[in-house]
Subunit: 392 residues, 2 copies
């Protein structure tokens, strides 16, 4: 874990803090702390904040974070939704908005729209663009993260190979990083203070994905395109997916599949207004289920069961002790999925005799991935090598 990030986090956690206390809190040497603090002061991220006497010794100078020193932007979009956030250096969300997703727009017009959204949000929140270090744009895979390019013809053929990060950076005038949505949701859930946490994230918005954090670092695999939980087969006799696999979790349990089944049920369609985008319709089905609609509840239950089984697979393969559910699709019915997944893990995880696996619902289901996009920019600033590559 990069030193600057650890020190900055320790300052942030404590409000004001002396160098000696920082050394105690982080386990780093005094010399390392001195060096890191000097750099953070140069960056204007940290300032001297008076001093305190401690008994008979030399008074200790205090340090404090300068939260408004810089900001980062996170943008998560899929076909159905765009969530945009602005974070300050303290990791606080100082601006947030939700807009329409990409639909079937071509990448050029979507990029223009995203740039407009960011500009409007910065204006609304009174954040000067000069303080914005960069933006993390967060969406589905496969991606070439280093090149900032999507490697999929979703939602239209024109997106395949489109230089999204470069074009958005040009439109915004700030650096842009590309990140996977499920990985970002994990980063967003853990926040900047994710130095040592390990957990899997199951992410459900327009689609289903997952991410794994190990000791504060995202699991990357050989091309940063791993942990694609939505495209593991949960039904060998299931229908073919555009990905090439059969019975993909996403086609069994994802919002598109559930909404499609709901629309095929005339009685349910009569009770619940499904004339909306997929995510909105899915959330209406979820709220109907919570309100006691039996047909809606059965659809959500089937989805939760399939997701729970796939999460057992995820846990049996990655051997994590904690699973976080995040994403807009969990905003209303997350507790149903959480309980079903917890039950499945308690019954069927291979390692349950060795250690428990706890499931929790992200408190910021809808925004976690966008927040993670903003966090990844800050992490990138501090880390010499953001994405260690694994060679094949």
């Amino acid at each position: 874990m990069p030193t600057l990030s650890v020190v900055l986090e320790a300052i942030r956690d404590r409000g004001t803090v002396s160098r000696v206390e920082l050394a105690q809190a982080t386990g780093l040497t005094g010399a390392t702390i001195t060096h890191a603090v000097r750099r953070l002061i140069q960056l204007r991220f940290v300032r001297e904040a008076g001093q305190v006497s401690s008994g008979t010794g030399t008074p200790r100078r205090l340090l404090a974070l300068v939260p408004e020193a810089c900001h980062t932007v996170g943008i998560q979009f899929d076909r159905f939704r765009t969530v945009t956030v602005v974070l300050d250096l303290a990791g606080r969300v100082v601006g947030r908005r939700m807009d329409a997703g990409a639909g079937v727009r071509d990448p050029e017009s979507m990029t223009t729209a995203l740039a407009g959204i960011v500009t409007a949000l910065l204006a609304e929140t009174g954040v000067a663009r000069a303080t914005v270090l960069g933006a993390g744009v967060v969406t589905y895979g496969p991606q070439d993260q280093e090149a900032g390019v999507l490697l999929t013809p979703q939602p239209t053929d024109a997106w395949q190979g489109y230089p999204l990060a470069d074009e958005l950076a040009r439109a915004l005038g700030i650096p842009v990083l590309l990140e996977n949505d499920a990985t970002a949701a994990g980063l967003g859930h853990a926040g900047l203070g994710s130095a040592r946490s390990s957990f899997a994230t199951v992410y459900m918005a327009g689609g289903i994905g997952a991410g794994v954090m190990l000791d504060g670092q995202p699991y990357r695999g050989s091309s940063s395109n791993g942990v694609e939980l939505g495209h593991i087969s949960v039904d060998a006799a299931g229908e073919a997916c555009t990905c090439g696999n059969v019975g993909c979790l996403e086609n069994v349990a994802g919002p598109t599949a559930i909404v499609s089944r709901a629309r095929a049920d005339p009685a349910l369609s009569a009770r619940v207004d499904l004339a909306a985008d997929t995510l909105t319709a899915f959330r209406r089905i979820g709220r109907a289920a919570l309100g006691g609609d039996r047909a809606a509840a059965e659809l959500i239950s089937a989805s939760a069961n399939a997701l729970a089984i796939a999460t057992v697979t995820l846990v049996n393969l990655f051997d994590v002790a904690r699973v976080v559910l995040a994403g807009d699709a969990f905003a209303d019915v997350g507790a149903v999925y959480r309980d079903r997944t917890q039950q499945a893990l308690a019954r069927a995880s291979f390692i349950r005799a060795v250690h428990a696996v706890d499931v929790e619902l992200s408190v910021q289901s809808t925004d976690a991935a966008a927040i993670g996009g903003a966090v990844t920019v800050l992490r990138d600033l501090f880390e010499s090598a953001r994405r260690p590559r694994v060679r094949g």
Copy 2:
């Protein structure tokens, strides 16, 4: 990657080599090489081997490995088989034998049997026990590797919590490490020279497991009990497994399941002698399939299909570019599984547009896990922390 291991590997690869050439080959500084070589000579693993003049410069002293300086033992067992190997420091197999598996023996008598096997093998190969650094005992999970204890009531209740590593160490008078069979198969396939390789291992012997190597290090997860491919669900409507899950790959595709189905087919049972232990019977079914027996071929084909689908899951989650098939069950029919898995990955891996995923059959299917047990002892010698723990 630990320096000593890298340097030893470079010496081993080159026969005789100078310190300057070692620095060039490893990218390490001259001072680091000098320090590492001094330690390796102290350990008597490396010796001075004359010198060469290189043009006008000072003659360079040459270094060579002392392969017979030390040995390590690897023991892989399951219910059906025990494979034991002795490796020298060059990683060469200098002794090897195969014996009966644990069957339903209690752990005490199996431990006594294993100690007898090792003693006999050392005598057969003329290896002095004083040169044996340790043994790696390799079997199924879940395990507490640090404690050297099995955490499963397989094959009998008495095995649950039995201090296998300690008891075997006491019986043998040498240190014993416990390792997962599939992880060991990966280590055995890569050998000591696995410094930078990344791949997944799919292991099939009595059961089915898997391992992932990333940059030469096994993926460990939070308790070294990950990558349990045999216990991911490939059939949500499948039968319940003792592990708590339903439709586990092992119960659909593993030797026990295939042999059980073959025995239920009177015509097939009349053609193929299945009155043998499960692994022997499975290999006979495999050879019958290769010989043109249609019923046998259908069973192997069904097994290969299920294994291929599960391997797509493994690849979609871990994003590796290479898959190695290892284990005694692949000894005859490995090519069928390799081809089926390669086809499935070419059709259905999520990342196939980003990078190819190659499937290969380990050239030492039957022995890879035992060899890996011996390799893990050598690695442990060189690494300060063999198994970095991931906190939950």
